[in-house]
Each structure stands twice: as C-alpha cells, then as structure tokens.
C-alpha cells in the first residue's frame, strides 16, 4: 500500500474550512429569518410538557405555499445576548422532546414537517445528561423515521452531529452550498484523530463535510446554490431555499396525499429504503475471490 496525501481541494470555490467559517458566520440567516421571509401566520408552540422550553430548538405552525406546515429548527442568536439565551443553537433534551411532540402533532393533522438544521451539536452538560440527552435524540430519530407525513430537512448552516440528525431523518434532505454536515466538529475530529485541535482545517477537508461531497455520497438530495454567501445577500438565499422546499414538498404530496392511507404507507416505505441504502461497505462471498458487490450508497 502506498502512502496517500490528504485530499486536494477543488481548485474553484471555498475550501472545506472556509465553508465551515461561512456556515458559522454570525450574520448568516438563521431559522427565524427563513420563517419571516417564507411563511405567514407563524405561531410558535413552546415546551416539552415535561420540563421546560428549549429556546435553541424552536417549533410552530405556519402557512407556507398555501398550506399549513409544522416547522422545527435550531435557532442561533444574532448577537451575544441572544446567543446566550439560545445556547448557541445547542439543544437540550427538552428541545428534542418538544420536536418529537410537535412531529406527532403534525402527523395527527396531516401537516408536512419542515426542519431547518443549524447547530454545533446537542448540548454537552450535566443537566442535559441527567435529563437523558442521548435518549431524547434517539426518540426524536425514531419518531421522525416513522412519521406518516412528508418531511423535508434543510441544512441551512451547521449540521453538527447527532444534535442535527435528531431533526434530519427526512424524506428529502437539502443543503445550502456553504452549509456543512459532519459526524463531529472538525476541531473535535482534529483533537482526537490528529491529537491537535489546531489541525481543524485539515480535518475539515478530510471529513468530506461539504454539500457537494454529501450530494455525491447520495446522502443529500439537492444542493441549494449560494451565488454569493448567504450572509451577503440573505434574502436571495432564503428565496432560493423556499423554492426548493416548495418543489420537494409538492412532489412528495402529489405521490403521497394525506387522505390516502396506502400512499402514506408507501411514503414510510420509501423513507425506509432511503436510509437503508446509506453506507459504504463491501461484501465478500465466502469462498469467492474478491468482492462481488461494492455498495457505496447506490442510488
């Protein structure tokens, strides 16, 4: 085996690390900016009915493209004060339990669910552990995986690990061009695998966390172009995002109308197959020489 060098970045466009910085840019539009621009009649619904209301993960009903939808999203602050109130978009167990509650609510009334993903990750903390952070995420995954309404997830900024995925088990996963979606932050990855958090830029490139990478892997369905970075002309990006969401929702609803129970079962089955395919493994047949199947996310 020959030694390999880390990935060369494509010559055009920002590097993975530059995109990390764009995805985290303080002026980048956050969930409320999308709500304001794309929906009317927004009514925020608070609380998990058990412990509290998590302001890092918002939810509520709104009118979008002429219909009622349930929106869930991580919400970062636009300044330090709001960031502290919103815990930098890092949700706690009560946030994920609220999300789960509102997903069931949406299912009850046949409302499609839109999720806006933008978080460094779920909060690591003593209280979060005491209240079952892992289980809260897991239950949210389980509920979303089996939901009887169409779901669209959009990674609008930072897709940080399990805390992002918790509202990301959707029929369609869209991603902004400068958003990132990763199993761990590049800093954490660098600290653990390179023993040096300072090598985060290198880790970012190696981890393949950009929208283009993830579309190529078959995990992301569509990349929404940012002709200029979202924080430069936020309304342009938000409108392009709205158009993409409407298109995917309509496509899902045309095939899976809410009053057709067998169509809803097919929706679940299609989602099942979608996630079933994701992975990269090879399969050898005992006694055979070499590989018979190369199963990197066949689409």
């Amino acid at each position: 085996m020959t030694d390999r060098v880390p990935h060369a970045e494509p010559s055009a466009g920002p590097t993975a690390w530059e995109r990390v910085k764009l995805a985290r840019h303080g002026d980048r539009p956050h969930a409320f900016d999308y709500l304001q621009e794309l929906t009317t009649d927004w009514v925020e619904l608070h609380g998990d009915r058990a412990f509290g209301d998590d302001r890092a993960l918002i939810g509520g009903l709104a009118t979008f493209a002429g219909q009622t939808i349930m929106v869930l999203g991580h919400q970062k602050g636009n300044d330090t004060k709001e960031n502290l109130a919103r815990n930098f978009g890092m949700a706690r167990p009560e946030g994920y339990r609220k999300a789960e509650r509102l997903m069931r609510h949406a299912e009850k009334f046949g409302f499609p669910v839109l999720t806006l993903i933008d978080t460094p990750g779920a909060e690591p903390g003593i209280g979060s552990e005491e209240r079952g952070q892992a289980n809260a995420i897991a239950e949210s995954l389980l509920t979303m995986a089996d939901l009887g309404v169409p779901t669209v997830a959009v990674v609008i900024g930072e897709g940080g690990s399990g805390g992002a995925l918790a509202i990301g088990v959707a029929d369609r996963i869209l991603m902004l061009e400068n958003a990132i979606y990763a199993v761990a932050s590049p800093e954490a990855c660098a600290a653990i695998l390179w023993k040096d958090a300072g090598r985060a830029a290198e880790a970012a490139a190696t981890m393949r966390i950009t929208a283009a990478d993830l579309e190529q892997f078959g995990i992301v369905d569509e990349v929404i172009a940012e002709v200029v970075p979202a924080h430069v002309r936020p309304k342009d990006t938000i409108r392009a995002t709205g158009i993409a969401i409407a298109r995917h929702l309509r496509a899902l609803q045309d095939v899976h109308p809410r009053d057709d129970l067998s169509a809803i079962e097919r929706l679940r089955a299609a989602r099942y197959e979608r996630f079933r395919r994701i992975g990269a493994w090879r399969e050898t047949v005992p006694g055979a020489n070499g590989y018979v199947a190369d199963a990197i996310s066949p689409r």
């Binding site: 952070q133 892992a134 897991a138 995986a145 995925l165 954490a188 653990i192 695998l193 090598r199 399969e283």
Partner: protein, 315 residues
C-alpha cells in the same frame, strides 16, 4: 467557542479513567493474576473467568469481548453468526496523523481478531430463539460505522421477518469519525429499522455495557422496549472529560453510571452479569405469550397461585 463544539465522538482511543491499565504492569503476569481496578484485589485469572469476569470481592464488572458475551448468554452451540462477509470500506480515503483508515482497519483486525465492531446472529437463550447483536469494544472502541449499521439493520429485519425478539448488547464510543457522515447516518438507519420492528410487535431488549456513549446511546440502544444496564457501566451522550472541560463544573458523584441513570429514570433495570441470562429468559417468556383475551381467560384463575418469577424486580 470552538471548544464548545467539541464533544460526542472520541472513538478509538476512548477509555474511561478507570481503564485496566494495571494489567500492563510488568510486575503482574497478566495471564495469572489480574488486579481489580476498583478494589485493587489481585484475582487469579481462572477465578475471574469462572466468575463471568466479575471481581469476587467488589463485584466490579470487567469489560467483555463480544464473543465472551455470546458464550455466556447463548445456549451452547446455538449461535449461528450472520453477515460475516460484510466488511468495511474507506469511502472518504480518510488519512489522519496515524495514517490511512484502511490500514488502521487491517491493523485492528489483526490485533482484535475481528473484522468489524458488531457481531450478529441467531441463537437461543434458555431455549427461546433470539436475534443477537453484540458490539466489541476492542474494535476501534466499537464505533458505529457503515458495517455496524448494515449488519444491525439486517439483523433487525430478520428479527421482524421471523418474529423473533431482538437482543442488543452495546458498548461503544459512538459514531466512527473515519467514515464521516456515513457513520452518523447509521443512527438514522438503525432506528428506522427499529421503527418497523416496533410496528411488527417484535420486542427489542437492549443491554448497555461499559462504556456506552455518543451515537450508539443516542440511537438504537436507548429506544428499546426494555433498556438494561450492567452495574457500574458508564453511559451517556457526551463523555465526562468533555463535559468537565466545557462546563468547568465538577461532575457529581457517580455521574453517568448505570446507577445514576436508573435514579434519573433513563433505564429500566440494572442487571448483574450473573443474573443476565436468567433475566433475559424471563423477559423472553413474558413476551412470548399469545396476546389475546381469549388465550388469557382460561389462565386467569391460575393467577392467584402465581409464584414469584426470577429476574427483574430488584435494584
């Protein structure tokens, strides 16, 4: 703020503070005497083996390899392993400071004797058929990558097709960073399979063993119908050192132990290793009965003579 983003995944090198470093002490021939990391008692290795790798003095539960677990739980000769030919790939061409991931996989296989971190198959426990999925912490901290997810998904599907209960035993550092988002997505993949298993009415019993963190606790392992844990096991989402670093708070006594989780309502029961097979057998019996009033009615008058079953019900 960058430091605040760092949590969740520390596979590979992940080891809780009380790791069995003493075993490496050259003064103690490791094949004969083993020092208990909790009470420092020197235990004769054969005695430890006879005692299911539990310290006879303080009941510290040593970590078990996946195949040791299976040998302890499955009826002798009943385990048939599935999907041994599903092998890892290196979809990112991942190279870190330790070298390429695919080379690391080869080295880990040579060292651990396993080609991946999850072993799945069919077995019987006290004659009751089960689908077993057991993780092996010696393989890159039993981190969950594509092979782990694929083997678990297939096992869950077989449990559904055959209407056979699923028993998972998990000890893991979380998702496998070397496989990037493919690894994270295994959380969604395995839970999606469990959603369907739940609709089919097939029970899933999950045992959490030391240590269990990150993407495994935050996915299939904690959404089981019954969640059990081994005494003293460390279980959580973020690792203790990460939480300490970020919050700059002293962690409470017993933080993230199985006992802590039980007290906070996060697990159903703590089961000492010596009682695990009997507990599973009881649970499997309880779920195996035809679930209709017509079947239950003739047996109702027998209920008054019911005797205390073995198994759960103790803390």
């Amino acid at each position: 703020m960058p430091a605040m983003r760092d949590f969740f995944h520390r596979r590979g090198k992940f080891r809780p503070e009380r790791a069995d470093d003493e075993r490496a002490d050259p003064q103690i021939p490791e094949d004969l005497w083993i020092k208990c990391p909790r009470c420092a008692e020197l235990i004769y290795s054969r005695e430890l083996e006879r005692n299911d790798q539990v310290c006879p003095k303080c009941t510290y539960h040593f970590r078990l390899r996946a195949r040791e677990r299976i040998a302890q739980l499955a009826d002798p000769g009943s385990f048939s392993e599935w999907d041994t030919n599903v092998r890892p790939e290196d979809p990112l061409d991942f190279v870190d400071s330790a070298g390429p991931y695919d080379r690391k996989l080869e080295q880990t296989e040579a060292k651990s004797g396993e080609p991946e971190a999850l072993i799945v198959g069919g077995a019987t426990i006290a004659s009751a058929p089960v689908v077993l999925a057991v993780s092996d912490f010696e393989f890159l901290g039993a981190s969950m990558g594509s092979v782990y997810g694929e083997k678990l998904m297939r096992a869950i599907e077989r449990a559904g097709e055959r209407q056979v209960p699923l028993v998972t035993i998990s000890s893991s550092g979380g998702a496998r960073m070397h496989e990037g988002l493919f690894a994270l997505m295994q959380m969604a993949k395995t839970v999606t399979a469990l959603a369907r298993l739940g609709r089919a009415g097939v029970p899933h019993i999950s045992l959490l063993a030391d240590p269990c963190y990150g993407g495994v606790t935050a996915s299939y392992a904690t959404v089981a119908d019954v969640v059990l844990a081994e005494p003293g096991a460390l279980i959580g989402f973020a690792g203790p050192r990460v939480i300490e670093q970020i919050t700059r708070q002293k962690l409470p006594e017993g933080f993230q132990t199985a006992e802590f989780l039980l007290e906070h309502g996060m697990i159903d029961a703590i089961v000492p290793r010596a009682e695990l097979a009997a507990t599973l057998a009881t649970l499997l019996r309880l779920y195996s009965r035809p679930n209709s009033a017509a079947n239950a009615a003739p047996a109702l008058d027998m209920a008054v003579r019911n005797t205390q079953p073995a198994g759960l019900g103790r803390d």
